[in-house]
Symmetry: C2
Subunit: 320 residues, 2 copies
């Protein structure tokens, strides 16, 4: 009998699609009761102790902050400029320290406050490990939504910031005595640890999209966030719009953590060329990394069409 | 250092209140961006394997159905006449059977379809046990909200149906060879098992509230659902409005499962007397069980002010 580890996350989600409307699972979040002008956006993410964090590498404050960021990042990836509120389902063993739990909520509250978002409510229950399932709700103007399917051939692929930092930060925290890691510059090490512990949902990048929109250009922005890694974002974007992501070679960091590290929570966008140019000029750290080809296909290098270096994508149900 | 088991669920929630607006946690669900006419209602509930269900007593279909019911019941308890959609955070071990998981989603989908509600999206991840955290979203007219705090002295306490059935059903399933249980009539046994496996959110009771509203009466309905037991509902209602629930003796079933069984998902309401009378006449199974006194206090018998028989309330973090 098939189990989850055999099937894997992507195939599980494919099996579950039939329980929702066609296309309902195609983006980072769900759009609710579309009316003419304003849509509600709903996103749910779960973090599990031992899978997404461990108490040895992640202080409670950071667990709370990161849980909130993961969700708010999905709202940004749909085009929201802000979030309205979140609910939290907390499951935890009876032996969980209250101090640690309060740190978790302090971290979440700090992240929410930074983005003008409220804790709406939730549920608390017992479980063998700590799990936080957060649902975030936001709104977006009906004519300023970001959908993965909106990409067109010739669109420039743009990222809102660097990839791999969060994964580097995690490795620094997990291997404090690894000499090759410690030889990295102190500013880089600090930035990496910060990126891992306190990722920021890129509402500012959505605002930059609005500011940099060329006059008279229709709103057409394809995008997703890079929570499961840059490679995965490019695959999702390419598959949804049916155009192959072609990457500039100079962009390449051969480090697997750049393509597959995950948890960077940057926006990965496909934009008409002049918009892309203005956007990158507006937003420090943003970068053009390639473009969308005519035909469907997996992400590859633009110059030789070779596949990207093989790394290990994040697979939620892998047998450990 | 204090842990969750020492603290208990109510006190944990009290500690967490400071992370939200004052009063934000006082009802069954959260109200979102109130505008003049229509409010969005958001509710989150988590079910954990070994705590809320076990694969030995609960088929996957029923796990999915009950998870959805628990959430939709919270929307009904806020006055919603229907639900718009739900998101699901699923966490499960790699060895989880896909067939079983699909049954869970089939059960959830059947419940949602019954109430015209959609699966909006969610998240899937790995965890040592199966956990389902569901967030439901609904809407309610701003002038037809049910709040716990709205009760006034003299209001009749009304329940939308019988309490204890779900707990009896669970005991029947867990103890198939218990002769005293098997001596109960077959219709009662069947009804109890159905109540446990396929509870129904009482949107029909909300509709009956609208139909039975006395002409020219302002909308003033206090209420909650009885997911954590009838005693707990009465406590929550009494505490929120500051008036002691006084119960008619004849109502009493001394069985602890009536007061503390939980998971009945009935509505427990406080209504002005003429409205209560019409409501009970409209809704088969509904019953007046007492009224609200002048002063604050815990639920007690009306005739002698004695406390209700001692039972064991449902405590999520109790050490097993």
């Amino acid at each position: 009998m098939a189990d989850l580890a055999d099937l894997g996350e992507s195939e599980l989600i494919n099996r579950l699609r039939r329980f929702a409307k066609p296309g309902q699972f195609n983006d980072d979040a769900a759009l609710l009761s579309p009316d003419q002008h304003l849509l509600r956006v709903v996103s749910t993410d779960a973090l599990v102790e031992g899978v997404h964090f461990s108490s040895s590498t992640t202080p409670g404050f950071s667990v709370g902050w990161r849980s909130g960021s993961a969700n708010l990042s999905d709202l940004a990836a749909m085009g929201c400029l802000e979030a309205e509120g979140v609910t939290v389902a907390l499951a935890a063993p009876g032996h969980t320290s209250i101090d640690w739990l309060e740190e978790v909520y302090e971290g979440l509250a700090a992240l929410l406050q930074r983005h003008g978002c409220e804790l709406l409510g939730g549920d608390c229950t017992r479980a063998p490990v700590v799990m936080l399932a957060i649902t975030a709700i936001g709104k977006v103007a009906a004519d300023a939504v970001i959908r993965r399917e909106s990409g067109q051939p010739g669109d420039r692929l743009v990222v809102s910031g660097a990839h791999g930092l969060s994964n580097l930060g995690l490795r620094l925290l997990q291997n404090p005595s690894d000499i090759s890691l410690q030889q990295l510059s102190e500013p880089l090490r600090k930035a990496a640890i910060k990126a891992h512990q306190f990722p920021v949902p890129r509402f500012d990048a959505v605002a930059a999209l609005h500011r940099s929109r060329p006059e008279a250009a229709p709103w057409r922005v394809a995008g997703t966030d890079s929570s499961d890694g840059l490679r995965r974002s490019l695959e999702l974007l390419g598959n949804a719009c049916g155009h192959q992501p072609l990457l500039d070679e100079p962009f390449a960091l051969t480090e697997g953590c750049c393509l597959d590290g995950g948890e960077d929570f940057e926006l990965v966008l496909a934009l008409e060329a002049s918009w892309a140019e203005k956007f990158v000029a507006q937003l420090p750290g943003a970068q053009c990394i390639g473009w969308l080809g005519e035909n469907p296909g997996p992400p590859c290098w633009a110059n030789n069409k070779k596949p990207l270096p093989i790394g290990k994508g994040y697979e939620h149900f892998a047998k450990l």
